[in-house]
Structures are given as C-alpha cells and as structure tokens.
C-alpha cells in the first residue's frame, strides 16, 4: 500500500517543553488510521504540525513522498490534507452550502477581474462548485440543511458539515479531530458508518478520537501517543491488549496501594 502521509521523527518543542518526541506515523491509501492517547499526549499538536500551523523542531512530514515542511497551511491543504477541528470551527454566518464551497476555493482558478466580468470560465467554475457542494452535503446526509446558516445547525450536523467542508478540498488524507465528541452512542454508531463510507469513497482517514469503542470498531490501524511519544501501534485488538497502553490510560498502580 502506498503511504500517502508520512511523519518521520517528528519532534516539537514549545519553549523547552517537549510536546512531541521523535514520532513516526503514516497513513496509507484506503485505510482509517487512528491516533489515540491520554489528554495532553500531543495528538492535536501532530495535526497542527502536519497542516503547517506549527514548524516542528525536528523531523519531516511527507505528503505523497514529498516534504511539505515550511509550506503555508493553504498550500498543504491544496496538496491534499484537509482537517476538522476539536471544537467546531465553521463560518457561522455563512450558509452550509457556502461553507462547503469555501473548501473548494482552491480548485478554482478564476481571478478578481474574471469574477467581476463573469467570464465563461468563472461561470463554469461557479456552477461546478455549487453542484459539488450540493453533492457533498447530500453525501453527508445534510442536504436539507444546505440553505441554513452554519451557526444555526444542530450540533451533530455542524460536525458533519465540517467534514463536508474538508472533503470539498478532495484531500488525499482527511484528518478528523475528535469527530464524535459530544455525540450520544447512537450518533457515534452513525458517525462510524459515515467515516467508513468516506474511506470507501477513496479518502484515507487519520482519526483522533477518545471514544474507544468507535476507534476499535472502525480503525484499520491504531497508534498510541503518551507524553508525546508513540508507545504502541497495531490493530485494534492488539492495542486493547497491550499492557503499555492500558498503563498509559489507567495509570500504573505503584506498591503504595
């Protein structure tokens, strides 16, 4: 399997505090990879480095075998890395459809003058963006929300809209940051199905999630971070029986008890 996203020996320090230490990760085509770990283990930091928001202290990030280090976030996004956010960050005053269309901005080429004049190319791009966005909303099961303002959407649909917006970039790898946060068990099951559907549509997924039952059910491969270091990697069942992982989550009982 081709590795779409590779993270090699990634180290990230903030003013002397080591947030990530020589982390190696990868996401291959057609898989759902999960990144788990206790609070403060550095999971979101991985996303922020990979998407170019932070410059790592050491290490490299490869997308399609090419380094994306030092590129601006928008450039990395264009190259095929789209993300969602732990605490939903939609454009609240724009409609759901407009939110998704923002995600497809990078696929358009028409400039300022072309937009003013309304050249045929501009019209083509616009109508394609519109229909693509409508299609994606449909894919995520929220086409009935297309005209509503993002801020007025119910919580679960906001999460779905965030994913739709990211998919509009047609990414190689989709980064999901705790997509199930705040969901009830039923919604989590539905989300799991949706993520599988996204994978089957040809997007590789890297998932940060705390809900273990969800992670274990849908992931092809799980990596575990603790103290900014990768302590384990394997199939869901391997991870669940890995003593290091259990210790990381539940803590070690010392002889004092």
């Amino acid at each position: 399997m081709t590795k779409l996203l590779e993270v090699n020996n990634l180290t990230m320090e903030f003013g002397g505090v080591v947030a990530l230490k020589e982390v190696n990760l990868h996401v291959s085509a057609g898989e759902i990879a999960a990144l788990i770990g206790p609070n403060g283990a550095g999971k979101t930091t991985v996303f922020n480095v990979v998407t170019g928001y932070y410059q790592p202290t050491k290490g490299d990030v490869l997308l399609n075998s090419k380094s994306v280090l030092g590129l601006k976030s928008n450039k990395i996004a264009r190259l095929g890395l789209a993300r969602t956010f732990q605490n939903i960050r939609l454009f609240g005053d724009m409609t759901a459809l407009e939110n998704v269309m923002t995600g497809s901005d990078s696929r358009n080429k028409v400039g300022l003058v072309g937009s003013i004049i309304g050249t045929s190319r501009s019209r083509q791009e616009e109508s394609l963006s519109h229909s693509r966005a409508a299609e994606l909303l449909n894919f995520m099961g929220i086409s009935h929300r297309s005209g509503q303002l993002a801020r007025n959407l119910p919580y679960g649909d906001q999460r779905r809209l965030e994913i739709a917006r990211a998919l509009a970039l047609e990414p190689k790898v989709l980064l999901l940051d705790e997509p199930a946060a705040g969901f009830n068990p039923q919604e989590k099951v539905e989300l799991g199905e949706l993520i599988k559907k996204i994978r089957d549509a040809g997007f590789a997924v890297l998932l940060i999630e705390h809900d273990m039952s969800l992670v274990m059910k849908i992931s092809d491969r799980v990596s575990v971070l603790d103290f900014g270091q990768k302590i384990a990697e394997g199939t869901p069942s391997e991870i669940q029986n890995n003593q290091k992982v259990i210790d990381a989550y539940l803590g070690v009982v010392d002889n004092a008890s």
Partner: protein, 352 residues
C-alpha cells in the same frame, strides 16, 4: 439604557423592506431599481425646503461630502466590512488619486478620464507595496500601520515640490464636455452625476464579487482566518485583493474629487477623513453594501441639514462609534444573515 437598546433592536428597516423585496415580482424589482436610480440622478433638481440644505448649496453638498463619502465608504467596506481588515489610512488612497489628477491634469494636460484609471492604478500599486508586507500582521498592528501610511502620504504631499507643499495645487482642470454637459467648478451637477455613475459601477462590481469566489473567501477570512487558511484559501492573496480593490476605488474617487474642487491641499487628507469614512461603514453596517451607503448618506447629509451638527459632527461621530459598538456592534443595517434555498442537485440559489 436597556429601553434604548430594545428600541434600537426592534428598528430594522432592512427586514421589512427585505420581506417586500423577497416577494416582489421581477417587474416590480426592475421598476424599483429604475425609480431609485432615477431619483438619485434627479436629486440636484430636487432642491426644496424638505430635502435641501438651508445654509449650504444643496447641489454642491450632493457632490461633497455626500457622493464622495458614499464612494469612499463603499470602497472601504470591501476592506473593513467584507474582509475584516481594519484600515485606518484609507485617506491615503483618496489622496493618491486626487494628486494623480492634480499633477497629471494640471501640469501635463492628461484628461480626467485617464486620470481616474491612473489614480486607481497608482492607489493599487501603493496598496500592493503596503499590503504585501503589512497584511501578514495581526489586526490591531495592521490598523496602526495603515494609520501611519495615511499620515506618511499626507506629510510627503506637504513636503514635496511637485505636490505644491502646504499650498497644494490649484487650477486643476475639469474634463472636456460630453453630450453638451459642461464640467465646471461652479456647477457641481455634472461631477455629481459622474461620481454617482462611478458609485453605481462600484456597487455593481461589489455585488457580483460578493456572490462569487472572492466574496465567499473574504467572508470566510473575516469569520476565521486560520480555518480559511486550513481550507486551502490563499488568505494573503484575498486580503491583498480586498485591500487594493478598496484602494483603487478610493483612488478613482479622489481623482474625480480633485477635478471638481479644482484645488487641493494636504490638509484635505487628514486622519479625520479616514475616521469619518470608517464611521460611515460602521454606522451603516459593516459588510452590508446598502447599509454602508445608507450610513454614509445619513452621516454626511445630517450635519449639512442640521446646521448645529456640522461644527460638532466629529464629536458626535466619535460618540456614535462608541455607542454603536456597545449597543449595535453590527451597525444600523447589519449585513444580511439570511437563510437561502438551494437546488438539491445544482446547488444554485433558488429565489423565492
């Protein structure tokens, strides 16, 4: 205080008009547009005790400050309202346009028709020079830098020979006649019509942009710049576009202005102008073009109409900006946050 607040929040002309507009037929809409545009072109002839300004020449008020400030407010709205970039030096672009026509028109005989375009072009160049580095900065730092830029342009005009120093440039030519209409210092009507045409062109452009790619990108940047960047939106490029487009509009307006007033001096281009334009945008409703136009008309017309206001108007504008931000931060006519209906397949908006 709270009763004032309630009264304020209940007053929403846009909504009731918007409801009418939503239900209007195509013919009704065209008729409304024609009537409105006709009304504005006919305004100079409607100098009567109700509309007219008793102590100043109504026709000349229509050009300056009314039309001039509407044009600038519409331009600044793209920057501040639509994209959320706080520009406190907008007057710089206006001044660049004004001096372009003053210098090229007076000393080199270039016609205003070229100078409007050249003024806009020079303003855009200045916008690129300032914007490329400055637009990377955080909002409040950017505000101070633009303020500095506005002052630098004025001080440079004050100290250069070609700009005539503090005395400025006089005898700036008006354009030659077209269709038997004489452009002249004494008769402000033709310049008013010219500025009105310029405004309509700009508004038309703005509406088209708003519905398309740049408009969406600007809104996304205003709402959350980081996220826009993560979504592949080239935020720096779009901010620069907004900045230079706003600048070009200021430059064009400046060229027309200098042609009408026939003489300009650096004192016309102080920070006050930038702030007054900003007040128009904020008062009307950042990001809503009709709100901004209405805001500029109200703020520039009332002081002329109510004589007692004109001496103290900046005082009131300052107060107004504080009160507005505290009570109605989105302005009197906030930008529309209305829901839309889209076709399920094409995703095109369906008008009701």
């Amino acid at each position: 205080m709270s009763s004032i607040k309630i009264a304020f929040s209940k007053f929403n002309l846009r909504d009731s008009f918007g409801a009418w507009w939503e239900n209007a037929t195509k013919k009704q809409r065209i008729a409304f547009r024609v009537l409105l545009i006709g009304f504005f072109y006919a305004l100079p002839f409607l100098d009567n005790p109700i509309l007219g300004t008793p102590e100043t020449n109504f026709q000349s008020v229509l050009f300056y400050p009314l039309a001039v400030y509407v044009a600038m407010a519409v331009g600044l709205n793209i920057v501040v309202g639509k994209s959320g970039i706080l520009d406190l030096g907008y007057v710089a672009f206006f001044a660049i346009g004004a001096y372009t026509h003053a210098i090229l028109g007076t000393f080199y005989g270039v016609s205003l028709w070229f100078n409007i375009i050249l003024g806009a072009a020079f303003a855009m160049i200045a916008g690129v020079i300032l914007g490329l580095p400055a637009l990377r900065l955080r909002g409040d730092y950017l505000a101070i830098i633009t303020l500095g830029f506005g002052e630098i342009v004025r001080i440079v005009a004050l100290n250069l020979e070609i700009t005539g120093g503090a005395a400025g440039i006089a005898g700036i030519p008006a354009p030659p006649n077209i269709f038997n209409v004489t452009f002249d210092v004494l008769d402000p009507k033709p310049h008013y019509w010219l500025m009105l045409t310029f405004i309509m062109l700009v508004v038309w452009m703005y509406i088209r942009l708003g519905k398309r790619r740049p408009g969406r990108a600007w809104e996304a940047i205003r709402e959350d710049e980081d996220v826009a960047e993560f979504m592949g939106v080239e935020t720096t490029k779009y901010k620069l576009w907004a900045f230079i487009l706003g600048g070009a509009i200021g430059g064009g307006a400046g060229a027309i202005y200098s042609s009408q007033v026939a003489s300009i001096l650096p004192d016309y281009f102080t920070l006050n102008v930038s702030i007054l334009v900003l007040a128009c945008v904020v008062f009307g409703g950042m990001g809503n073009i009709w709100g901004v136009v209405a805001g500029a008309i109200l703020l520039e017309y009332l002081p002329e109409k109510l004589r007692f206001l004109s001496e103290t108007r900046i005082l009131f504008f300052g107060l107004l900006m504080v009160v507005m931000m505290n009570i109605r931060p989105d302005g009197l006519f906030p930008r529309k946050k209305r829901e839309k209906v889209y076709d399920k397949v094409t995703g095109q908006e369906i008008s009701r």
